[in-house]
């Protein structure tokens, strides 16, 4: 077996899994499984939230080491699933290492859904959340409006602002403000329910879940990194909601007085 190719494949698999928001344990496990196919017993994989280091001692005695820096992470469950499929297949000997490498290269660019479907589902998710938070049917309908604003801001801001923190802040600000205005004109609407439902997709649910799993599995570095990540996101959302509501109250008071 070509050990260099095997090493490249493992690095690529780890990179895709980590970029797609996988837990550290899974990344390390997948990479060591692929690397163990080389037949050497000296394999070490060390992954954190922001990078991977792996080393493999070839049969001729020379060590192979690779470092991958992971700068941006997003949530893509489909890619995690596909990487898992490929690693299972190659470990079971169903596909060759060359084929696995080619497939992984394809996964890196793969998108499961069209952008339009994603956006529609985002609005639907927001509307679904209103029932969870005890909203009535008016909340359900008007959450669709704020959901649309969330999607619109998403499209608008992706080209203008590069910092995720600022993006979340501006988005929640607009949502809180709009929900306040809606609550003012339509008295049946609970603006609190609408705001909470609309910011639910922005709330750092995945980082916090992964932070817990990483920390309790002994990956303290990654766990803490993810806790920091979710704290930053939560603070951004909180500030945004606060500023939006404050702005609304300010305008409301100045019109009334």
């Amino acid at each position: 077996m070509d050990q260099k190719l095997c090493f490249e494949t493992a690095m690529l698999a780890g990179e895709i899994a980590l970029c797609s928001g996988s837990e550290i344990f899974r990344v390390e496990d997948t990479m060591s499984r692929i690397l163990s196919l080389t037949g050497t017993d000296q394999v070490d994989v060390y992954a954190t939230t922001t990078g991977i280091i792996a080393t493999l001692k070839c049969t001729d005695g020379t060590p192979l080491t690779g470092v991958k820096r992971i700068a941006a992470r997003s949530n893509n469950l489909n890619r995690i699933y596909l990487v898992n499929e490929v690693s299972r297949a190659v470990c079971a000997g169903k596909i060759s290492m060359e084929e696995a490498y080619d497939r992984l290269c394809g996964i890196r660019e793969q998108k499961e859904y069209k952008a339009a479907i994603l956006n529609v589902c985002l609005v639907l998710a927001v509307m679904g959340f209103t029932t969870i938070f005890g909203g009535n049917r008016y909340d359900f309908i008007f959450a669709g409006v704020t959901g649309l604003i969330l999607v619109g801001m998403d499209l608008l801001l992706s080209k203008v602002i590069y910092s995720d923190f600022m993006k979340d802040l501006v988005k929640t600000m607009c949502i809180a403000f709009t929900a306040g205005v809606i609550g003012n004109f339509v008295p049946m609407v609970h603006s609190e329910v609408v705001i909470i439902s609309t910011i639910m997709p922005l709330v750092p649910g995945i980082p916090i879940t992964n932070a817990i799993r990483d920390t309790l599995q002994g990956d303290y570095m990654s766990g803490l990194a993810r806790v920091a990540e979710s704290l930053v996101m939560a603070v951004g959302i909180a500030i945004g909601a606060g500023v939006g509501l404050g702005l609304f109250t300010l305008i409301e008071n100045s019109i009334l007085v």
């Binding site: 899974r26 469950l77 489909n78 959340f129 029932t131 959302i237």
Partner: protein
């Protein structure tokens, strides 16, 4: 309650699309989400303690996710992550910010404390079941 469970199903299924879950597992995630929310509501009715309800709901949800993962031969993350979102204390975080904005310190502290408790309940709910399944996997490998 049925209506709320349908709402939870809609929310989790739609969220799993937003997180780009594979097409064939959208339904699974939705069902897991609806079931865990139903359990949460049932426990809330019985004990009216959000921390216990969140803990029980997360633990059972993790159990469901692990079972689905074994049956479908897919990572647990696929089902667990979209379905756990309704239980995540997003409302608590918002209320902390809201109370701080209106200079209501005691309320902010109370909501902050509640949010931390709920996050802890989710953490232990996931952890307990994870440990059980990890032991099973290790036994299998040997």
């Amino acid at each position: 309650m049925i209506l709320k469970m349908i709402g939870a199903f809609l929310a989790t299924a739609a969220l799993s699309v937003v997180f780009e879950a594979p097409r064939k597992y959208i339904l699974h995630a939705g069902i897991a989400g609806a079931m865990s929310w139903g359990i949460y509501l049932a426990v809330m009715e019985w004990k009216s303690n959000a921390v216990i309800a969140t803990f029980v709901a997360t633990a059972i949800l993790t159990l469901i996710s692990h079972t689905m993962a074994v049956i479908c031969k897919a990572p647990v993350t696929m089902f667990l992550i979209p379905a756990v979102i309704p239980l995540v204390p997003g409302a608590g975080m918002y209320r902390v910010a809201y109370s701080l904005l209106y200079e209501n310190g005691p309320a902010a502290a109370m909501y902050g404390y509640q949010t931390l408790q709920l996050a802890g309940a989710i953490a232990f709910g996931i952890f307990f079941i994870d440990v059980l399944f990890r032991n099973r996997q290790l036994l299998h490998r040997k």
